[in-house]
Symmetry: C2
Subunit: 401 residues, 2 copies
C-alpha cells in the first residue's frame, strides 16, 4: 500500500471468480423452466445424499462439545487416527497419525495450505493442463510461475497421457513441485499405473515434490485401475496426497478434507492453518469417522449409480454431431467440447442459464484453449441430468456454425 | 525453492505455535489432579453452552442440503441478509448484505482474509501491543512489517489508552493500515468513545484503513460503554469490522465468523476465500440465524454470569502479593502479571500443567515484554476456575523471588 507495494499489485486483482462453480448462484435467473436449478457446477446432494451415519456423528460431537468444539490445529487425535488407519489401507502405504495427517476445511483448504507451504515467490511450479483451476490460481496468488504440462485426453480410445518429456524438461529447468489431480478434474482421466510410476521416478531423479489431489479416487469405474502415487516408490518426504469426503461421499457441506504425507510439509501446513482458520470445524471433523467405514455395499452402489448416469450422458453427447467427449474413468466430471458455434461460449452458457436454468462450468476456467469445452458434474438426478444434456446438445446443433 | 527463493525463507519457518491456545492439547499430561483439564486457553462450552437454537438450525440446513451444502463464496444470501440487518442495528450503522458482508470460517478466517486483502509485501502495518497474537503473525507471514503502537492498560484506575501520538507517527511514516481488537484481547480493555473517535479522525487524516476485531463486543460489563468504530465517522471505504459467534455465544465448533465493511475489501476477501477454503461450512452458515436473535434475557444472563466469575478471579489475583491485574471491561480475558519468580515463566506454566492440569496462555504470545504475564479465558465453570486461580496464586507466592 505504500509506494513500493503499489508497484507490486495484489495478484487477487486479476482473479475472476464470477464463473467459478457455485458463484453463478449470484446471477439472477427469471426462467420458470422445470429444469431451473440444474446446476452441473457441483453435485446434487439431494440425488446422492451423505453417508448415512454422518449427521449422527455430528450430533454426537456437538453433544460432547467439551471434547469436540476445539482441537489441535491439525485436527482431533482420534479423527487423525481413523484417517491414518483407513487412508493407509486404501492407498497401500502406512500413515503415521501423529506426523503425517492434517484435517483441513475441505480438500480446498488442504490444497491452499499445501501449496502455500511449498511455494515461494518466484518459484516455478509444474501444473497439469487441463486440471483443477485452483491449482494455477493459487500458484499465481503466491507470486510464483506456473509451468504447464499437457495432459493428452482427447483421443477417447487411448489412455490419458501426461507429457512426460515436457515434465522432465520442466524439472530440468528448475521446477521443484508438480501439482496434479488423479482422477483428473475436469476430464475424468485416471492415470495408468505406468504413468504414475514414471512420474514418481522423474520426481525422484530431480528431487521434486508432488502434490496429488485424489479427491475422486474412490469413484473409479470398471475398466480403469487406480494407482496411488504415495505407494509408487516416491520418497515419503516428497509427496503429499489430498483426499476428502466432499464429492463421492457428499459431505461437502461439513467442510472437511485431509492431507496425508511428508511430515515437514504437514508441520508447515499446521502453522499456516493457525493463521488462516485455526482448525477445520471441530464438530465436522468427527464426521470423518464414517468415511471409509460406510455400510457394506454403499460405495459399490454409488459407483454403479454414477456409472449409469455417465453412460447415459456420454451416449447422448457422443451421438451429437461436432461434440467430442471422453468416457470418464473416475470421478463425476465430464469435459465435452462443443462444435464451432455461431455464438460465443459466453453467450451459449447465458442461453442455457437464462433460457433453461442450466448451469455448466466454462472450459476456460481450466486453462486457455478450452473455451469450447465445458465441465459437467454428473452427480445429479439421472433423468433430469439427461434431459438437461439433451437440451445442451439440441442448442449446440441449432447454433452450430 | 529455486536458488532465488531459497534466500527468501518461508516466514512460516520462524512461527512457533507450540504454546498457542489449543495446541497444548498435544502435550502429554500424567496428572490425576481433579482440576486436570482446566484449560484457560479457551472457553468451556460445557459451562457456557451454545445459543439454544443453534443445533436445530444446523439440523434443518443439513436436511435442506440442496439449498445449504453449497453457497456463493461470500456466503448464503439469506444468512448475509440476517447478518447485515442485525450487525447494522447492533453497530448503529447500516450494512448492505450484497456488498458489505462476507461469512468466513470463524472470525480467524475473516482476519486472515482481511489482512491478506489489504497488505502487500514490504508494507508497514500498525499493530497494537498487546493485542491478539495472530495480528502480528499474519502481518509477518505476508512479508510486511509490524509497527507496534502501545496500549497502556496497566493502571487499573484509568481507562486503557492507545498511544495516539505513536499512532500518528506511524501514519506519518507511511503506515496505511491499523489492526486492533476492541474489547482488547488479552487485557479486556474497552476503548473509550473519545479514543475511538480520535483513532477514526487520525485514520481519516492520513487516509489509513482500520481493521477492528470486535469479536467480544457483545460481552461488555456495566460501567464500560462500547463504541463501534464503523459508526464513529470513519469512511465506509476505510473500515472493516470483524465479528462472530465463537466466544460469547459459544459457537466456535461450527467455525463461522463475519467481516462487515468496505465493499472493495469484501470483494478481494471473497476471491481469496475461493482459493483458501471455498466457503464457510455450508450448514454452519445457517446457524448464524440465531445470532442476535437469542431468547429474551439470554445475553444479559450470560454477561451477569461472566461478570461474577470475573469478580471472583480478579479479587483473588488482586489480593496476591506481587500480582497485578486490570479489571476486565469487556470479553472473557484477563491478563495478570506475576511477581518476579525463582523459576522461568516456561517452568511455571509447566508446573501448572503437569502438576495441576491447568493450562494458561503465555504472555509472550502477545508481544515481547509480557513474559511475566499470562492470559486466562475465564469463560469457565465458576468454582473450578476460582480453585485453579487459587492454585496459580499459591504457586506464584511460593515461588516469588
Amino acid at each position: 500500500m505504500d509506494s513500493a507495494s503499489r508497484e507490486a499489485a495484489n495478484p487477487l486483482d486479476d482473479l475472476d471468480i464470477s464463473s467459478s462453480p457455485g458463484q453463478e448462484k449470484s446471477l439472477a435467473t427469471t426462467t420458470t423452466h422445470p429444469l431451473a436449478g440444474t446446476d452441473f457446477s457441483h453435485g446434487d446432494v439431494g440425488a446422492f445424499p451423505p453417508i448415512p451415519r454422518a449427521f449422527d456423528l455430528y450430533r454426537d460431537a456437538f453433544g460432547d462439545g467439551r471434547r469436540y468444539a476445539y482441537s489441535r490445529y491439525r485436527g482431533h487425535q482420534d479423527v487423525r487416527e481413523h484417517v491414518a488407519h483407513h487412508v493407509g489401507e486404501f492407498t497401500g502405504h502406512p500413515v503415521d497419525p501423529a506426523r503425517e495427517v492434517i484435517v483441513t476445511p475441505g480438500t480446498q483448504g488442504a490444497l491452499f495450505l499445501a501449496l502455500s507451504a511449498l511455494v515461494e515467490p518466484g518459484d516455478k511450479v509444474a501444473v497439469v493442463v487441463p486440471d483443477y483451476f485452483a491449482n494455477s490460481r493459487i500458484v499465481t496468488y503466491l507470486r510464483a510461475q506456473t509451468v504447464p504440462v499437457t495432459l493428452h485426453y482427447q483421443e477417447p480410445a487411448r489412455a490419458g497421457e501426461l507429457d512426460l518429456a515436457g515434465l522432465a524438461d520442466a524439472f530440468a529447468a528448475g521446477v521443484k513441485l508438480l501439482v496434479l489431480s488423479n482422477p483428473n478434474n475436469p476430464t475424468g482421466v485416471v492415470y495408468t499405473s505406468q504413468q504414475i510410476h514414471e512420474i514418481a521416478t522423474l520426481a525422484g531423479r530431480y528431487g521434486a515434490f508432488i502434490v496429488v489431489d485424489q479427491l475422486y479416487s474412490r469413484l473409479v469405474y470398471p475398466g480403469a485401475s487406480f494407482t496411488h502415487l504415495r505407494a509408487s516408490g516416491i520418497s515419503g518426504d516428497h509427496c503429499l496426497t489430498l483426499l476428502g469426503p466432499s464429492k463421492t461421499e457428499s459431505l461437502s457441506g461439513f467442510r472437511v478434507g485431509v492431507a496425508v504425507g511428508a511430515p515437514h510439509v504437514i508441520d508447515r501446513m499446521e502453522k499456516l492453518q493457525a493463521l488462516v482458520s485455526l482448525r477445520a470445524p471441530g464438530y465436522s471433523q468427527a464426521v470423518l469417522r464414517c468415511w471409509f467405514t460406510e455400510p457394506p455395499g454403499w460405495l459399490d452402489r454409488r459407483i454403479v449409480e454414477h456409472q449409469a448416469i455417465r453412460d447415459d450422458l456420454h451416449a447422448r453427447l457422443h451421438a451429437t454431431d461436432g461434440v467430442s467427449v471422453r468416457l470418464t474413468e473416475g470421478g463425476s466430471y465430464m469435459f465435452p467440447q462443443l462444435p464451432l458455434l455461431r455464438v460465443s461460449a459466453v453467450e451459449f452458457r447465458a442461453l442455457l442459464r437464462t433460457g433453461h436454468g442450466i448451469t455448466v462450468t466454462p472450459g476456460g476456467e481450466f486453462g486457455s484453449g478450452y473455451e469450447r469445452s465445458f465441465r459437467l458434474n454428473f452427480s445429479q438426478q439421472r433423468d433430469k441430468a439427461l434431459e438437461a444434456v439433451a437440451i445442451i446438445c439440441g442448442l449446440a446443433t441449432e447454433l452450430a456454425a
